[in-house]
Symmetry: C2
Subunit: 395 residues, 2 copies
């Protein structure tokens, strides 16, 4: 039989296959993957998690297994709120909504704010799953150039004034896919432009805690107050498998609607993992844990850059990350990243070509490389493959 499939799921700009390939690859042990944004499993606090579970089930087993409320577990929300002081924001537990990973937050904002054809704004390039999610709501997608200093403020000023986007979705720290971070100057300038508009800034920050070099800036919420909603996740710091992210929304009217939508979608995020995570955070020092992760990722980034210098042909360039999980590489003139990716996957290496991160551009030369979830040997072997694949495409 053939059943009706909705238009939103048959549009060509729904690029489902990219993420699926990444997730499948994550489960395949033979493949070397520079593809996903997977944390290194040697960083997982398994032993500590076991202690946390035992405590939760002994003290509050019934609460952990029963239905709960939509906003999420209060002690976890309080922990998240308090930690915002580090990036210049005062927040309260009431302003936090726990989500099924920060991915769900993208859907919540789109569903709650967008009518068909409404203008929205993203960085160019931007997170591919954000593009996918927003597209389900049939918006008019505008993009603003991302430079080494952050968003291009002239272009931003023009778009805010002429297009008046409902929201601007931005990842100011170690952006996905580019790894780029906004400078303090860019933050201040962009914030002052946004203040003159009615555009909500949705600040996604999955990688902000992963800085291994240099100094970070404030959240946009520091400058914009309730005109900035923040998204966060424990996926890159503690565990992605638990699927626990959050929204910090200071505007009550918007927050109430986000909550009402979340409640209809799935009632609430699994309370069992929320309580286990809160217990883990109460009993352990997240900063200590993050130190280990950051040292690990810094080392891996250095190993990868060394391997790139060793194996990649002249004409290939790349960003030098100060944190996060990604290097953004540009292929030599005339070489399409998609072709390199297809050649590499046949040799046992997964990389993600830049194409799905752009709203329109196809056949681009850019490519995202993840260094967090590979051994040194894998990085070396994988980069050798990548070098071969690029050379093949240069012929």
């Amino acid at each position: 039989m053939q059943f009706q499939i909705s238009e939103r799921m048959t549009k060509p700009d729904f690029q489902g296959e990219f993420v699926d390939a990444i997730l499948k690859c994550a489960a395949s042990p033979d493949m070397i993957s520079f593809g996903g944004g997977l944390p290194n499993p040697i960083s997982f606090p398994i032993r500590e998690m076991e202690d946390a579970v035992a405590k939760v089930l002994e003290k509050n087993g019934v609460q952990a297994l029963q239905y709960s409320t939509t906003a999420g577990y209060e002690p976890l929300r309080a922990y998240i709120a308090k930690r915002y002081a580090r990036i210049g924001v005062e927040a309260t537990a009431d302003e936090i909504i726990i989500t099924n990973g920060s991915q769900q937050a993208l859907d919540m904002f789109a569903a709650v704010m967008l009518n068909p054809k409404d203008p929205i704004l993203l960085e160019r390039p931007s997170y591919l799953a954000a593009l996918q999610t927003f597209h389900l709501y049939d918006p008019t997608v505008h993009t603003v150039e991302l430079t080494e200093q952050g968003v291009n403020c002239e272009e931003l000023a023009d778009i805010l004034q002429n297009v008046k986007p409902v929201f601007f979705y931005a990842i100011p720290n170690f952006q996905n896919p580019t790894g780029l971070t906004y400078t303090v100057e860019t933050r201040e300038k962009a914030a002052s432009l946004l203040k003159k508009s009615n555009t909500l800034l949705i600040e996604d920050n999955p990688y902000g805690e992963l800085r291994f070099r240099g100094e970070g800036g404030y959240s946009f919420a520091h400058y914009l107050g309730e005109q900035c909603c923040m998204m966060g996740t424990f996926s890159k710091t503690v565990s992605p498998g638990m699927r626990i992210g959050w929204i910090c929304c200071k505007n009550k009217a918007l927050r109430d609607k986000l909550m009402a939508f979340k409640q209809v979608m799935d009632l609430h995020t699994n309370i069992f993992c929320q309580m286990v995570l809160a217990q883990y955070l109460a009993d352990n020092d997240l900063d200590e844990h993050m130190e280990k992760i950051k040292n690990l990722y810094q080392h891996q980034a250095e190993v990868m850059m060394a391997a790139m210098d060793k194996y990649l042909p002249a004409g290939t360039s790349y960003t030098k990350p100060e944190g996060g999980m990604f290097i953004w590489a540009t292929m030599p003139d005339g070489v399409k990243a998609v072709d390199v990716g297809n050649a590499a996957i046949k040799k046992g290496l997964l990389v993600v070509a830049g194409d799905p991160f752009y709203e329109k551009d196809r056949g681009v030369r850019t490519m995202r490389l993840n260094y967090s979830n590979s051994t040194e040997a894998q990085i070396d072997a994988g980069m050798k493959i990548l070098g071969e694949a690029i050379r093949e495409m240069m012929k």
Copy 2:
């Protein structure tokens, strides 16, 4: 500041406040609640869950904390598939998609199948959160009468032929809110009608395992094959807090789209709880566990019916359940269930008036009463309050 809220979230038929009140009440210890569909916490296998977590973290800690694939944990899907033999269906792990509670499945079907204004069909009355979710996609909602024998087949035949709904969402076992179950005859007749149409039957079955009297029928998938998608959940059998439900979809084209949508929504359901649950199910006999729950709920249903006979005024009638969690009560002539509910909540009892379970009818006399999550003393005290509240409205 005031930000744009989408039309889908400002329509009056988005009845968010009902479920929210139920969830809040679930968290408030002073209130007697006949409102939610909450399992009795004395049925939660806390000790066994602790063993399961320890095993999972020791054997597969990394897998439990890392990203996973969208379909869900294979051993859990295999367990679910195998269990379908009991209701006359052969299913495989490949046909199962794990969801964040079965609630998420409602959104998945709507998003993947519906364009604006498309006709869909639900029972009258039906599950309120299904109505809410579907309304977000702006469909044309049709309803078909639910009788003591199940769906009204004459009305169904007429609607299938003339309206041609994209799907028919039905809860054939201990329906929410009425507690009614389709007879075998009704199943066979409705199935033969559906076979002549191209309407997909979405069979939701959260309560089917909770039969404490009589014999149940086959799933509609037994008759309809891939024309029936089944939804299920562990919320009523093991733990709602873990938010683990599923879809069984035998049609590959539809299943691929459901999976693609789920992947964009939240990548995957939390793998930690999926693995813990699978371990629990491998080490424990779910049927033995269900025996305990069913004995408990049968007893509580009897206590509630006795209290209704004792306290409720003449003119009140109610369904006598053979399973599930609900009694469907009808107020005396001229008494609106909403008014009774408002009077009761002031006296410390939460009940859910029938109104939000109907697409159009308001001011109805019907009311849903949950008996699974109250002590005998609470049932007695609550029913006394309800009797008083009804009498007040009869004055």
